[in-house]
């Protein structure tokens, strides 16, 4: 008797799970999928956008040429993935020691509505000092995301607010602005620093 009820419950859960999977398919692979998916980011030299960093300076993809770059999309109202990624990046930069100065590290908000330059300044102050926060008008953020082949989407939350779904990978570019690789969110952390070192080596190769 008790077992049957449990099975009944499990059946309901399975049905709900199936619906969730369907909804996931609809958004990811189905007709609801956004256009650029899994494509390789453009070289920074081919991107075009104009943003403002957390100190009010005008910045764009050209700002990043000359040093290898780590770039990441997120938003400061994100309670889980974004502080975790920024903490991870801070840890990698600590591991790189002085070499961290030879990198550009940018955190680009996907939520410019709430993330003004002042808010970005407050926020990045809690992480490694090499991390720059970039924000700007929504259409410029959209162009940046398009260049990186990143996606983001505003999702209403139950309490009347909203949250953002967004690409959580860290993008690596060499000093010439060519895309090298990504560090994915669920990738083992010990692979990150060697990957960054590899992007930095391409810089040396370029220079010699």
């Amino acid at each position: 008797m008790r077992r049957r009820k449990f099975l009944g419950y499990a059946g309901a859960v399975t049905a709900a799970g199936g619906l969730t999977l369907f909804a996931g398919w609809w958004r990811v692979d189905g007709p609801g999928a956004p256009a650029p998916s899994g494509a390789r980011p453009l070289p920074l030299t081919k991107m075009e956008f104009k943003l403002t960093d957390h100190e009010g300076r005008t910045v764009g993809p050209e700002t990043l040429i000359g040093k290898p770059t780590l770039a990441f999309f997120g938003f400061t109202f994100c309670p889980d993935v974004c502080p975790t990624t920024l903490s991870d990046i801070s840890g990698w930069l600590d591991a790189l020691g002085e070499d961290a100065e030879r990198l550009n590290v940018v955190f680009i908000t996907v939520d410019p509505e709430r993330d003004t330059a002042e808010i970005m300044e407050d926020y990045v102050a809690y992480f490694h000092p090499a991390i720059r926060g970039w924000t700007g008008p929504e259409n410029q953020i959209a162009r940046a995301a398009e260049g990186f082949r990143a996606t983001y989407e505003k999702v209403p939350a139950e309490n009347g607010g909203y949250t953002m779904n967004h690409t959580a990978s860290v993008f690596l570019f060499d000093a010439a602005g060519d895309f090298v690789s990504t560090i994915d969110y669920h990738e083992p952390r010990e692979f990150a620093v060697p990957k960054i070192r590899r992007a930095m080596k391409e810089e040396t190769k370029e220079a010699t």
Partner: protein
């Protein structure tokens, strides 16, 4: 439908729980709890912990209560194969006998919405886990830095 079956299961669990000394939510142990400090109160906070069921019955976390936040809720972050992360309420969380459910960065988390006061590093707050058998487990959660990556460095 799900709700109705659920209460039947909960009722049965409750009646069985009275016969065993450590069953149901009495057998739940929470370890390694921590939270990140917040910047003010406008952003949601997050707390993490390991919830271990030492008993021989499945237990179900049905909700959270804390005076720190008006809307505490267990959320799940998931990252799809294109690297896109999203976050949604996890609903009720079942923990099988002898199993541990980890609330950890990038997975499940206690999402603390509508903070009533800022979460300050070095302070702590109490959070109560509600279970389907009517039991409650109260956890004192230390608040670590915004850049903390786990319960300790």
């Amino acid at each position: 439908m799900k709700q109705m079956l659920f209460s039947v299961v909960a009722g049965l669990t409750l009646s069985l729980a009275t016969s065993a000394a450590h069953a149901g939510s009495d057998a739940v142990v929470v370890e390694d709890a921590w939270a990140r400090a917040s910047i003010g109160t406008s952003r949601p906070g997050a707390a993490y912990m390991e919830i271990r069921n030492t008993g021989d019955e499945t237990v179900t976390v049905t909700g959270l209560v804390t005076d720190l936040a008006k809307m505490p809720e267990i959320h799940r972050t998931s990252t799809d194969d294109r690297g896109v992360s999203s976050m949604a309420p996890a609903g009720e969380v079942e923990i099988a006998p002898e199993a541990t459910v980890a609330l950890e960065p990038g997975g499940l988390h206690a999402m603390l919405m509508q903070l009533q006061r800022p979460m300050k590093e070095g302070e702590s707050f109490s959070l109560t886990l509600l279970f389907s058998d009517g039991g409650e487990v109260r956890v004192e959660i230390p608040i670590r830095s915004i850049s903390a990556r786990g319960p300790e460095d």
